[in-house]
């Protein structure tokens, strides 16, 4: 009985960790879906958002005002990226665009340190991280809060994309860029909206991850957690990012506990990639990604 309880505890912990991975992955999906760009700078944006927020709070700016101000900064960053980096590179190969975002991530990290310094900061969102017990299983309050926040974010995006003009334009562009252009949609405006949305996701994810890890340079490394999620769930599916995150979170924790001892431990980082690679071989578009069919 105790072993089963422990298994459940590992599973629940893994699923809740997976929600945090999904949060980062959603930022990737939003941009990839509309522009075909794998935005490697998503981690740097997350760092920039968290660092901006915490620096404002430490300078005496009230909590909610700091959130609003950071959101404005992230929107400005998103629009600037679209204008300065992506628009001049339109019609370039996916590899060129990927390399541009790779370079962009270094620039954002550098500017973040230049503006806000290199010190490590604590971030308190006012949510206690003390566990409570359900049937002998410990559950983290903070993780539940993070899961609820992620759920609210996804629900908010779903409403936005279904019931607003910009959302509908986004879906049209995601379905077929050329058809969207043909009916008069302005691609650049949609892209700017998408980068703004990605900036919002970066802010939410940055605050939650920042409260977990502290706000520091290594925050940008959380992108590495999102990559197997994307490989598993598909690069262009929000649902895939969520299910992929949950699966990767659960699998890596269970693998570390039950398979890790056979290899001397420390396997969860690469175990997630083994699973993701296996999925990639069996289903290259991921669980929920669109299959690419080309006429030749």
């Amino acid at each position: 009985m105790f072993e089963f309880q422990f298994f459940v505890e590992v599973l629940v912990g893994g699923l809740l960790s997976g929600v945090m991975y999904s949060l980062v992955a959603i930022g990737f999906v939003l941009i990839y879906k509309t522009s075909g760009v794998l935005n490697f700078a998503q981690g740097a944006m997350l760092l920039f958002a968290a660092l901006t927020f915490v620096s404002l709070v430490e300078r005496g700016v009230p909590f909610w005002f700091a959130i609003g101000a950071t959101l404005v900064v992230m929107v400005a960053l998103g629009v600037a990226v679209e204008r300065v980096v992506l628009r001049p590179l339109v019609n370039q190969s996916p590899m060129t665009l990927f390399m541009a975002t790779l370079g962009l991530s270094y620039v954002i990290e550098g500017v973040a340190q230049l503006l806000w310094g290199t010190q490590v900061h604590g971030l308190d969102l006012g949510i206690d991280d003390v566990p409570f017990e359900v049937g002998g299983v410990l559950i983290s309050q903070f993780d539940l809060f993070a899961a609820a926040t992620a759920g609210a974010l996804v629900a908010g995006f779903a409403l936005f994309f279904r019931h607003t003009r910009t959302g509908l334009a986004f879906r049209a562009v995601a379905d077929d860029q050329f058809a969207a252009l043909a009916v008069g949609l302005r691609l650049s405006r949609v892209w700017a909206a998408v980068w703004t949305a990605a900036g919002t996701v970066a802010l939410v994810a940055g605050l939650l991850w920042g409260a977990r890890l502290g706000v520091q340079y290594s925050l940008s490394l959380v992108v590495l957690k999102a990559l197997p999620v994307l490989m598993l769930g598909g690069f262009d599916s929000v649902a895939g990012a969520i299910v992929g995150g949950l699966l990767i979170g659960a699998i890596e924790k269970l693998a570390e506990i039950y398979v890790g001892p056979l290899f001397g431990g420390g396997i969860e980082a690469w175990a997630a990639y083994v699973v993701a690679l296996t999925f990639l071989l069996l289903r290259p578009s991921g669980l929920f990604g669109h299959k690419l069919v080309e006429r030749v």
């Binding site: 505890e9 310094g117 490590v120 900061h121 308190d124």
Partner: protein, 442 residues
Amino acid sequence: MLISKSLRTAALAAAIAFGAALPVHADEQFFPLQSYRVGPYAAGGTGFFGGFIDYLNLINIRDGGVNGVKLTWEEGETQYEVERGLEVYERLKNHPGVAAWNPLSVGIAYAMIDRITKDKVPLITINHGRTDSTDGRVFPYVFPLLLNPYSETSGIVNYIASREGGADKLKGKKIVVLYHGSPYGKETIPIYKLLADKYGFSLEQIEVPHPGNEQQSQWLSIRRAKPDYVVLRGWGVMNPVALKTAQKVGFPIDHIIGNVWSNSEEDVIPAGEAAKGYVAITTQASGAEFPVLQEIIKTVYGAGKGNLDDKKRIGSVYHNLGIVNGILNVEAIRIAQQKFGKRTLTGDEVRWGFEHLQLDPTRVQALGAKGLFHSINVTWDNHEGDGRVTFQQWDGTKWKAVSDWIAPDWAFLRPIIEKSAAAYAAEHNIKVRTSDDTALSQ
């Protein structure tokens, strides 16, 4: 006659003007600094190199240098990356009067050992580096001052024993070591096994993959194992995440003992309330109440030459480590000057100074560092110098000492270190020094 006088005057004026244009080369001792002020480890780098430079500045401003020899330095940014560290080495190694290298990076230090040995300049790896470089018979130019990883391990076990009421009380206890998944993290695996055998405690060692930003499964394993203590051998983001996850699984924070790279403000502040009560080992106390710190504040920061931008960091763990490192470097030069003369020394002469760096508590007090660190006793074959350790507890805003100065079990460790050094010597074809070989260039 008039022409002659005019010529002489013109010649004199030209000579004075020419002389004034030339730089005056007083005796100077140079420190090349492979610092890291940007990148993921910048918080530690700015503190350590800030403290080091603050102390060098104090010596220059207050004393006019070491016996008139001015201390100079130049920084090269490494971002903690090995290849950049080596670039800085190659760029600065030919600067006149290089005293010693102080990279504060395991990776850069490892990559420099062959180079500094060939160039005959000391490499200082305070509190870190290869454990077997303690053996000066095999590593004549490497100095893991105050503490090597094995001494640290022994110090932590001795501290746990003192909390339990004696070494005999360790029998039957359970200790989990949570270590960073890197060569640094893995270095102490064998010594913990030996100490577990010696004292009869049961041991489990659990790896956290780099960078350590996710530790749910490791802490659930710890919860299942129900250990009496967890030793945290972390680095960077792994440390606050460990403390927060420990809270998440309900493990008592004051039974987590951090190692020397898990003991700074940067490790606990991001963990917030979860870190309150956490205990960690250190070789130097925190705080700015020590006379040497007060002098730095008055003399260096008072003159607007302080190196830290944020004055609240004066007296922090990394800043004080940098100051202690400065004291040890400066005193090695001072000791070497007594033998070789009050002038710019060669690296080999400074190495001799380090091999005679013996600062007892009386001398430490005279340097204004009583309570900041205990003492050091470096010899030609013991390059660590028998540093003592103390333990500090985080109260939510600052570290407080919770132990006396504790001595690691050097007698137990020495044969293990010598065995490892002998294997290194055999592998690299190194002639092992004897006490007859301690003169220069040996």
